[in-house]
């Protein structure tokens, strides 16, 4: 075989493998997607073709599932978490980026480390504390813990963005007479806005999908969407059609958000280790 024929051969294999990988990646998602539109009867059979129904979507919002409440909880918890996390993280990120601080490395390592501590390790003290403070099963409680989870990502991502903003404009402004705070508000924030937006979305996704804390710290009132999934157990087993519909409601907003910020995903998750 000549060099060129060999190349063609490998190209074809490459394409086949990519297609197979794509199929593997998308099948579970697709299947759930289809199941959400199946009736109670259809879902228990391996059918590819069926008459779709939107019934499941309305059912999950009715009692006793009340997915609507969970949806509201999730939105509020994730939203408020981001609302608090981003400003706090931005201040810290700016400082880490522009200044030399004592104990800087230790602080950064501590922030990094919190991400790697398993949630189970810190959940138990939280449970005890929340029980004593009456914060169990409240949205506020959830917001507080989500703040913890989300903060390291937010700081690293925003710091990365601020690092990328050239110093020139800030320095020119300070030469012209601005104070540091004015510089942050008038110059850095507008320029970092896309980065803040991206970090905000990333944190929203994390808070939205958060599971363990919500599982342990909520019961009835503050239950979020992912935990709501556990509700769909019927007497005969799981109600898959309803489960799938709920699953889509959880997934879809996240797909949209993830696609919006897809360029920065890798940087966010590895916290700057890989660009």
């Amino acid at each position: 075989m000549t060099g060129k024929q060999r190349k063609r051969f490998w190209n074809t294999i490459q394409i086949i493998l990519i297609v197979i990988a794509a199929i593997i990646m998308i099948t579970p998602i697709l299947w759930i997607f289809l199941a959400a539109f199946k009736t109670h009867v259809d879902v228990y059979q391996l059918k590819l073709f069926f008459t779709p129904t939107f019934e499941n979507f309305s059912t999950v919002f009715d009692a006793p599932y009340n997915l609507g409440d969970k949806l509201i909880n999730s939105t509020i918890v994730a939203g408020v978490t981001v609302l608090f996390a981003i400003p706090i993280a931005t201040c810290a990120a700016y400082s880490f980026s522009r200044f030399k601080l004592r104990f800087e490395t230790s602080m950064l390592v501590m922030i990094l480390a919190t991400q790697f501590v398993p949630a189970v390790v810190i959940i138990l003290p939280f449970f005890v504390m929340f029980r004593d403070l009456g914060l169990l099963d409240t949205r506020i409680g959830l917001i507080l813990v989500n703040l913890a989870i989300v903060m390291p990502f937010a700081i690293w991502m925003i710091k990365g963005f601020i690092d990328g903003i050239p110093l020139d404009t800030e320095e020119a402004a300070m030469v012209d007479g601005s104070t540091r705070i004015q510089v942050i508000l008038n110059i850095v924030l507008p320029m970092a806005a896309p980065g803040l937006f991206t970090a905000g979305i990333f944190c929203f996704i994390i808070a939205w999908n958060e599971f363990l804390f919500a599982l342990i710290l909520t019961n009835k009132d503050a239950v979020t969407l992912p935990i709501g999934l556990a509700l769909f157990k019927g007497e005969e087993g799981d109600l898959w059609n309803l489960l799938s519909a709920a699953g889509i409601i959880i997934m879809l907003p996240m797909f949209v958000l993830a696609l919006i910020i897809r360029k920065h995903f890798v940087q966010g998750m590895t916290m700057g280790a890989v660009r």
Partner: protein
């Protein structure tokens, strides 16, 4: 025999044509330079010779066979990259040894050959270091050593000197020239620096927009340019190009000044080319025309006078002891022996006997 032949080579990406149906022959043992500005197609042409780029149409011959279907590794070539392409995780020794190792050269043969190559580029004491410990010039020599450690049929060099600082570039040029004369291998060399082309090449192919503008020896492209592009590209400072017309055998600028005798028939619109060193500077009144000085530059080795007449400016080269100020008036004599006429529409050289 290792000549390189390109037959009607074209490279197209979508609508953009990088190389447009060009043919070129590089003779055995010849040092051919592909010269041109960025985007002219010179690097693409070389990469097609190397096999790193596939021609959209046309044939590439190395030696006596068509190599279009051959992978780079089977074409028996060696290449020096612009950024050197050194393997950062290997020592210099391993870098140079790699082409031999990967082609199955017996271990006993590798060591002496690597050491000889290192000696030829004067890098023997660096063999155990890694690329990041070396300076730019040293890395460049490693890339060279890696290319010469085998005896390939063709050397390809992609702007190897462009990442070096100016002084180093001059020294390396001499070393490259010396090395290439020693090794006697067919070489294709790509650069945008016309001095490199002039000093290193047996022949130069000047390229622009995917087309070879002129193929000739350095002497030919300097003293006998075929079109406006080559005339303006070669030579530093660039050749003076003056717009005007020819009447009664004399060249008249668009502003009406009669400049010099050129002979030949009348022409309505023509471009006169004359090099700075062919414009002599005299005191006011002692030349063919008087013009004011626009700028005076003393390079130490000579003096460059930019003078203004009408709307056009030309550069004249003068003795390094000449002293003039802005707005001084000087007299110019244009040497009629080294003049070129070009058609402004086509850019082609007008040759008259």
């Amino acid at each position: 025999m290792a000549q390189v032949l390109l037959k009607n080579i074209t490279k197209r990406w979508g609508d953009f044509v990088g190389v447009d149906n060009q043919s070129l022959e590089v003779k055995d043992k010849e040092f051919l330079v592909l010269l041109g500005p960025s985007g002219c197609g010179k690097t693409t042409t070389m990469r097609m010779i190397a096999g790193l780029e596939e021609p959209t149409s046309g044939e590439v011959w190395i030696g006596d066979r068509v190599v279009n279907d051959d992978l780079p590794k089977d074409r028996d070539i060696a290449m020096v990259f612009q950024n050197y392409g050194l393997y950062p995780h290997m020592t210099i020794y391993d870098n140079i040894a790699y082409p031999l190792k990967v082609r199955g050269t017996p271990k006993a043969d590798i060591k002496p050959r690597v050491e000889k190559a290192a000696e030829q580029v004067e890098l023997t004491e660096f063999l155990q270091r890694k690329p990041k410990a070396l300076s730019g010039g040293q890395r460049q020599r490693v890339a060279l050593a890696r290319a010469i450690v085998r005896k390939p049929r063709v050397f390809l060099m992609d702007e190897p000197l462009s990442n070096l600082d100016a002084k180093l570039r001059v020294t390396m040029r001499a070393e490259l020239k010396h090395l290439s004369r020693q090794l006697q291998v067919t070489t294709v060399y790509v650069t945008h620096d016309q001095i490199e082309a002039m000093t290193l090449a047996d022949r130069v192919a000047v390229m622009e927009k995917g087309v070879i503008q002129q193929l000739g020896t350095p002497d030919e492209i300097y003293n006998d340019p075929e079109n406006l592009f080559v005339a303006g590209f070669i030579g530093s400072p660039a050749m003076n190009l003056i717009n005007g017309s020819v009447r009664d055998g004399y060249f008249i600028t668009t502003g009406g000044t009669q400049l010099v005798k050129v002979g030949g028939g009348d022409r309505g619109s023509v471009v006169l080319g004359v090099r700075a060193e062919d414009v002599d500077i005299h005191n006011a009144g002692q030349g063919d025309i008087d013009v004011p000085v626009y700028a005076y530059e003393n390079t130490g080795e000579s003096v460059m006078l930019t003078v203004q007449f009408g709307k056009q400016r030309i550069i004249a080269k003068g003795d390094r002891h000449l002293r003039k100020e802005m707005d001084d008036v000087v007299g110019l004599i244009v040497n009629p022996e080294h003049l070129y006429l070009f058609d402004p529409e086509t850019g082609e050289r007008i040759r008259q006997d």
